[in-house]
Amino acid sequence: MGYVAVTAGEEIIERAEQLFEKQRIDEDEELAVDQIDGQLSRLTGQAMSEGGLYAPQLAALAVKQAQGDTVEAAFLLRAYRSTLERFDETETIEPSEMIASRRVSPAFKDVPGGQILGATKDYTQRLLDFDLLNGESTDPTAGWDIDDEGDPEELTNVTELLREEGLLHDPDEPVDGEPTDTTRESVTHPPERDAVLQELARGETGAVTALGYSALRGYGQVHPTLAEVRVGRLPVRITHPYTDEEVTVTHTEVTESEAVVPVYEKRTDPQFAFGYGLTFGRNERKAIGMTVLDASIQLDSEDEPAESPEFVLDTVDGMDSFGFIEHLKLPHYVTFQSILDRIRSIRKRQQAGEENNSPSDEQPAEPPTTGASDDD
């Protein structure tokens, strides 16, 4: 395969870009970045999650610039982050510190802290709401009579409940040192669990969902029960340079999912295996898909795609797949000319062989020719 630089007038390329930019302009008021941030937070959340960069306002800008293409928006965020220095790593946060706005446990009906539906349409019909065409939305919670609940409570993690009952094994040994950082070092196989979680956390939503789904459809052994799904805010904490005390800079909105997987057939002491998912933004299907993949990858099998860490991590990143798939539309003239030449050559040799073996004097038809020159 070969690549050569091709030329096309810069002016023409600029025109094509101008035509692209024109598509965001219409006769109505221009969409403001704040509106995207406020009203389309699922889009910005997805872009931040896949870009691996929490920056709501810039994510909204990226979504606007990419005209709603989330992978392109994530690419823009990653390109921006690559120009920045890292100040530091945060203090390590435990997910139980999350200020949850939503927590449901499909596994435990009476989970301590309660089932909090939060903002969701999970239990209602998916029907088009034609009232939104009028653009006159009103706050449906305006008339709520809300009790004073005080400060947010920390909700006990379901895995802790399982651990208290001995249904979940204790960690094998404390892990010292900094976790792997896949933004700074390539993933090697077999990967460490921290690398798997980081790569899945910034995986492309559709890819994570599809690969997780493949395990549920029979291409894998994991069919988990979700212990809980949570949406909320995690503190971003650093050590203050003057006081040496931990201080909170901000909070990131995240979605978390935990699953339990029965492994009684494989162990003498029946316990649960587990899967874990955590990602920036409100993105429950990605967090759940990540959970299924985390549990599947722990089986470390080559039998099914979802259980192969190499397969999953090589295909789940949106930037990689976007780049490779979309580069195919760029000029490949030399590659294609080479393929054409090879096919013509093979056909000529075959025809020559048929002529030599043929008892008749019939001439074979000429292979089709193109106007392509051989000067590439």
């Binding site: 931040m48 691996g52 960069l53 929490y54 920056a55 306002q57 810039l58 920045l84 890292r86 100040f87 530091d88 790593e89 945060t90 390590t92 946060i93 997910p95 139980s96 200020i99 939503r102 009906k109 009476d110 309660g114 089932q115 909090i116 539906l117 939060g118 709520w144 809300i146 009790d147 004073d148 609940e149 400060d151 947010p152 409570e153 895995t159 802790e160 960690p171 094998d172 404390p174 892990v175 976790p179 792997t180 950082d181 896949t182 933004t183 669990r193 921290d194 980081q198 971003v236 650093i238 203050h240 003057y242 201080v247 800079v249 901000t250 990131t252 874990y276 955590l278 990602t279 920036f280």
Partner: protein, 147 residues
């Protein structure tokens, strides 16, 4: 109780403050033209957010968070601030505000009052959001006894 006179508390309140408010405080402080040197230019940088997953209790890198830190020295007192996002003006203003309170600048009472308002608003918002979420708390019932 959050105390704006406490350096760590003040850091969190400045980080939660709007850029325009911080800029107004900083302008008030700089009106008398006190000696000011910028020790760290406000420039967007990254914090890698590390989380401990709850089962094996291993930390992993969730992703990076965009922040803008800045550090100044104002009339002999140092100030440090870090704002979420790309916020150069807010971070520099925040560092000036931090240094002003640390050095006992005459604007301290109004700054402290402003930061206390931020603390109140932050607490109210957090409580309101929690109350709204709790308003959707549900008890699922199994239907096995309802044939």
């Amino acid at each position: 109780m959050v105390d704006p006179h406490d350096r760590s508390d003040r850091f969190e309140l400045i980080a939660a403050c709007e850029e325009a408010t911080l800029a107004r405080f900083a302008n008030d402080v700089l009106e008398a033209d006190p000696p000011l040197s910028v020790r760290q230019e406000p420039r967007p940088q990254l914090l890698m957010q590390q989380v401990q997953e709850p089962v094996q209790r291993r930390p992993f890198n969730l992703g990076e968070v965009l922040v803008t830190p800045a550090e100044v020295e104002l009339d002999g007192a140092r100030g440090f601030a870090m704002l979420p996002g790309k916020a150069e003006r807010g971070a520099l203003s925040g560092a000036i505000v931090d240094a002003a309170v640390a050095g006992g600048h005459e604007e301290t009472p109004s700054i402290v009052a402003g930061l206390e308002e931020v603390a109140d608003r932050r607490r109210e918002q957090r409580q309101r959001e929690w109350a709204e979420s709790k308003h959707t708390a549900v008890e699922f019932e199994t239907m096995e006894d309802q044939e």
